[in-house]
């Protein structure tokens, strides 16, 4: 019934995702956190493949790893004097944070495992989803599709304006 290779690879990627995410959160060094986030994103992309959403997996790699992570690394490099030692970040409210972490985790897992309604449907998602995404984008989701472009336009203009802003006023003349 269950394919042992499939199961082993699933557990490998699940472990990579969870442990690198934990390293992102608990590491004191911002650069280590950023590079560990790379492995988290790759692991999550692999989980998307297991969920038969291969296009979303490629999107995850292209947008998160190729874009957002690069922006985050730029952010780290802009905002830290790496030669100094203030690359380390302190921890604030560690005790309440730990309680909240364990409480949320326990509540979510309790809900997931005690709900009996997770009956898999007979018609599971199979095969590649790229063409189905194309059809859905052009039929049911055509208005969100256009709204997304307006959102991206607003984000581009706003972020470019903010990043260009210079309180010294020496950049624009």
């Amino acid at each position: 019934m269950s394919n042992p290779t499939y199961t082993a690879i699933f557990y490998l990627f699940a472990a990579i995702t969870v442990f690198s995410a934990a390293f992102v959160v608990f590491s004191r060094n911002v650069i280590y956190s950023a590079f560990s986030l790379l492995f988290t994103f790759f692991g999550i992309a692999a989980l998307y493949v297991f969920l038969s959403a291969d296009f979303i997996a490629v999107t995850q790699v292209v947008v998160y790893v190729g874009g957002i992570l690069v922006l985050l690394l730029f952010g780290v490099m802009f905002t830290n004097n790496i030669m100094d030692t203030d690359l380390k970040t302190d921890v604030l409210h560690a005790i309440p944070g730990t309680f909240l972490f364990l409480g949320i985790l326990a509540a979510l897992l309790f809900t997931f495992y005690t709900t009996n309604g997770w009956m898999p449907s007979d018609t599971q998602l199979q095969g590649s989803v790229v063409e189905r995404i194309g059809f859905e984008t052009m039929s049911r989701y055509v208005l969100p599709f256009e709204m997304a472009s307006i959102l991206l336009l607003a984000a581009l203009i706003g972020a470019a304006f903010l990043a260009r802003y210079d309180n010294g006023g020496t950049n624009e003349h």
């Binding site: 969870v18 947008v63 921890v91 599971q124």
Partner: protein, 105 residues
Amino acid sequence: MEQLTTIGINHYLTISAILFALGLYAVMTRKNAIVVLMGVELILNAANINFLAFSHYNGGMEGVMFSLFVIVLAAAEAAVALAIIINIYKIFKSVDVSSIDSMKE
């Protein structure tokens, strides 16, 4: 043992719960604004795993489409948030979220 070796929806939900709790911990306890942003990205990814897991085991396309839009929103959000963080650094010379408490320079 059958529970462990046959990958079902509970596996994905467990991973997503762990990622969500870790992201929430980062948002709550980290002082560096960029690590807080990384926590937000972890939370968004946890939500995406849930969407895709339910979509896969339900057979519909709603979760797939929604996760696509979540990724787009995450890109826009990260771009604007990092621009704000860079500006905060220019003004306050720090990205420590616990020390930035004045609205004006």
